[in-house]
Symmetry: C2
Subunit: 243 residues, 2 copies
């Protein structure tokens, strides 16, 4: 009987390949099968990060989302399509593992922190050996880029998605010292209004493409009218105790 | 005139040297001066992580805290002693930079996320070239160790210090989907009570020494009466949307 191969869920970090972990770097450079998600017809952000690092002749498995923003998240068809897609990806990866092959699944950021790999992980963990390599989050790269520490002393840090309702955003923003808001894109006007209502707008920073080519760092108030990518991050720094 | 040397604030990550970034690894292996904080008479956690990695003949600068838990945080003497200590460290590092030497300051975790390097950073950034290398946080290693993703979909994640008041802890725990609680140690009984009051106790996990030798992962409820280190992490996983 063939011993099943390990499926590695590897976080690539915020985007700069130099910020990958030593373990991720080593596993990638020795990989035989590398799988990644991407939008159909796009190179894919994870694949872009590892450009030039994969061994010659590596088998690449592009897992193309059947849908991204064409159907609203609340539509039941969205869940059905995505669920069938993840099942299909799971079958492909499991077939390789069953044949004794190691597979490396790469994704931006940290796999267990709002990551897409989680949807494969929960389907695979009981049927194949799966190991996860944590990574530097995009938010760490973003607060590093602002040149100001995010949290001090007893500061409470709250991480919010721009996809939340305006009311929820306001309530959460009011009770936290430091804030990280992710999944911005089309949600930016709602997030701006919520920050204003919560009295945090003037302290907010907008970071685009943290640690990557094209990185920008500016006060949110200086970016009025700006169209910003989905993966932008908005930050409010804590002001806690410091000797 | 000598060109001033860069002072690098390098995050080492959660503890396993394999989880250091490629950049941190490279800078350390080429370092001439390596500085780190430690408690007097102890090897120091940061120094322990880089054991075997530093070049021969490297100049080591141990910065020993004048006080850790002997004086309560609320005592004004605590702030005065720490402040004088950080000023002194700043002078030592700046003298090297002024002489054209590069210095690497190492610390566990991510430098801008509740890190001790921040206290040097704010004193140095206007008088010397300082660069910061982000890192994998201890909490990422902790949630990876539990084998369960921490956040899904729109989950709100709140990061709390065990040093907060019980009342504050309860209020924050009630309003968040996922929770990370750090700085545990002697605060564990207060944190337990707060989790119980907030109805989150049964869902909480305790992770000790994440990614390091001696790592333990258990339900908090199974660790009754346990004395746990200051750097333990308590987690409650989010249960958000998943296709």
């Amino acid at each position: 009987m063939t011993r099943p191969g390990t499926i590695w869920g590897i976080g690539l970090g915020p985007g700069d390949p130099d910020l990958m972990s030593v373990r991720a770097d080593r596993l990638l450079r020795a990989a035989r099968h590398v799988a990644y998600f991407r939008k159909a017809g796009r190179p894919g952000q994870a694949r872009r990060i590892v450009e030039g690092m994969l061994p010659e002749g590596v088998d690449e498995i592009a897992m193309e989302y059947p849908v991204t923003t064409e159907i609203p998240l609340t539509d039941p068809r969205y869940n059905a399509l995505l669920s069938a897609f993840y099942e299909d990806c799971t079958r492909r990866l499991r077939a390789l593992s069953d044949a004794g092959e190691e597979v490396v699944v790469i994704s931006e950021g940290d796999p267990f922190f709002y990551g897409s790999f989680m949807h494969l992980y929960t389907r695979l963990r009981d049927v194949a050996p799966v190991r996860v390599v944590p990574a530097i989050t995009g938010m760490s790269a973003a607060w590093t880029a602002t040149g100001t520490p995010i949290t001090w002393g007893d500061d409470v840090l709250c991480i919010l998605m721009g996809t939340l309702s305006e009311e929820d955003l306001v309530a959460q923003m009011r009770r936290s010292d430091a804030l990280v808001i992710m999944k911005i894109g089309r949600n930016i006007d709602k997030v701006r209004r919520a920050l204003r209502t919560a009295g945090r707008y003037d302290a907010a920073w907008l970071v685009e493409y943290a640690s990557m080519e094209g990185q920008t760092v500016q006060r949110l108030s200086a970016a009025e009218g700006r169209v910003t990518p989905y993966f932008s991050i908005i930050l409010v720094h804590g002001e806690g105790r410091r000797p």
